[in-house]
Symmetry: C2
Subunit: 330 residues, 2 copies
């Protein structure tokens, strides 16, 4: 029995963003087709200045792959004390037919890729067809990843970007303009950026409302990425009142996503959530129905996205003879 | 950052039973010293003829190792359909200081070793000092492992063995006599074996009482191994009425161990459980107090046993330059 080992550089070479977008679409559809089991994750919280290490399990019945992602984050002393990043990830793939460990791959790129792809999938499904302008609140790694992904699914004419750190913002402009040739306008205020948006992306570590409801123009599609645990917040809950709300997982988003805030504030009830994105992708529920409505995609991230993305990488590795086989037993 | 990979054969060579017994003692003591976190395990149940795959997480604070054991079992078609065993296991070790994946080792030997060691630890702590005769109800792999372990801690004069399969019983006799030179008497009935016991070991997959209360002579120490989930049973619950009951984990044993049965039958209450074995090992609670009392050790197995055993194997590998380093990222 042989297990394939894949290094970070190999993972990087083995998959492109278009394939990740396909894998994430597949994940969302599978989730809404009774093809997925995702038990609650388990983890260990370590005392400061360390962070946490989490284990997220996903089973995709249709392709018989069980994935376990071990990911750490928040170990702020790691680079100086241990010479490793402050967060690391490894993905273990098991063959659901036999239980065998078929692959161990570095997982540090996959979270960024599949989260970027989730925004792009939502843009394809929910943004106005003539959407051309993006507002980016937050200009860190995931903000770039969103552009990299959305650029595969929409013609981006310009990006209005805001960050509370002017250096980060300026670096984002330089990087995005050189990588994609898309003009970036550095906004003087969040309001100035948001008002321009056909697609509004929020990717901050915000812990309070960053975007006021009356800044958001009709027809905007909002990709709410940053809020994936209780305590985080990026949007004025009032934005939800008249918006079409689509989530990745109702269970997760009502518990720890951006959607928790308007629910908690009694601005909406659970019945006001239009549905899960997999339902829209499967055609079971309509997506956007007019050019005037505001759509919100609340993404908290699911183990099945890691599963389908890692499976695609594994398949590509096998097809291209990339990686190192290791035999743990005869 | 380098990860050490250890094959099954290397694991086998890297640790002896005496060290496993030490590791399991350490695990029990750590568990009762606020040095352990063991979240509830997560898993996937697959449809028959497949089994389940479980993920058990343990954190040992004192040595800063986080272990995750992935283990499968019950895939009965595996040998014919996939050329692999019907159960497999892998242990992943993470450095609690940085979150880094430091080791991936085949884990298929560890469950057997550490479960065998748990019986031996209990014999050392709870059996009569002059105990010399063992009764073994069940003669499979774990029954042999118990002998291998207990043989490290007690002089075994003879073994009275019973199995419902005469071929298995006969093979056990041959193997034990040749490996350890201990005479094995094949009992004609369970009663005949049990009546001889200073130490009674039960290692079956029993789903009902196998051992009647009035067969058990005063002074017997019972090592109850087989029952580690609801639905399994090996002992007449009446045995618990006047026995000194020691468990590995009160939370686990009252939920899914042999101890669940007398609790469920109102033969004992939780207060009748003398304590956890770690408390006895730490000297916080007495062990056996007379040569006449019956002691029961109910072992359901804990993630921390995998943790300390795998850590010892890892340390031995590093010290002896055994294994293969693999660099998942620069």
């Amino acid at each position: 029995m042989k297990t394939l080992l894949l290094k970070k550089d190999e993972v990087r070479r083995l998959i492109g963003m278009a394939e990740v977008i396909g894998a994430v679409e597949e994940a969302y559809k599978a989730f809404n087709s009774d093809q997925v089991e995702q038990p609650d994750y388990i983890g260990i919280d370590l005392p400061s200045p360390r962070g946490e290490i989490d284990f997220k399990l996903g089973y995709y019945k249709a392709n018989e792959v069980i994935s376990m992602k071990a990911s750490s984050g928040g170990f702020i002393d790691n680079p100086t004390a241990h010479g490793v990043p402050n967060g690391m990830a490894t993905i273990f793939l098991f063959d659901g037919r036999s239980g065998a460990l078929i692959c161990v791959m570095d997982g540090s790129l996959i979270l960024g890729l599949r989260t970027g792809a989730s925004g792009a999938v939502s843009v394809k499904a929910l943004a106005r067809k003539n959407a051309s302008t993006i507002a980016s609140i937050g200009t860190g790694n995931q903000a770039r990843m969103q552009i990299r992904a959305i650029n595969e699914t929409m013609k981006i004419e310009e990006i209005h970007a805001w960050d509370n750190n002017p250096d980060t913002l300026s670096k984002y402009k330089t990087d995005i303009e050189s990588e994609f040739g898309i003009p970036v306008i550095m906004a003087n205020s969040k309001k100035e950026a948001v008002e321009q948006a056909d697609v509004l992306i929020t990717t901050t570590r915000g812990k309070g409302s960053l975007v006021e409801a009356d800044w958001v123009k009709p027809g905007t599609h909002i990709v709410a990425i940053g809020t994936d645990q209780r305590g985080k917040q990026e949007l004025d809950p009032e934005i939800f009142r008249n918006a079409r709300i689509i989530v990745d997982s109702i269970a997760q988003c009502t518990e720890k996503g951006e959607t928790w805030h308007p629910l908690n504030g009694n601005i909406i009830t659970k019945d006001d959530i239009h549905g899960e994105i997999g339902e829209v992708l499967l055609g079971r529920k309509p997506g956007r129905e007019s050019d005037d409505e505001i759509t919100i995609f609340d993404s908290t991230g699911m183990a099945i996205q890691d599963n389908t993305t890692a499976s695609k990488i594994y398949q590509n590795a096998i097809a291209n003879n990339v990686g190192t086989f290791f035999q743990f037993f005869e």
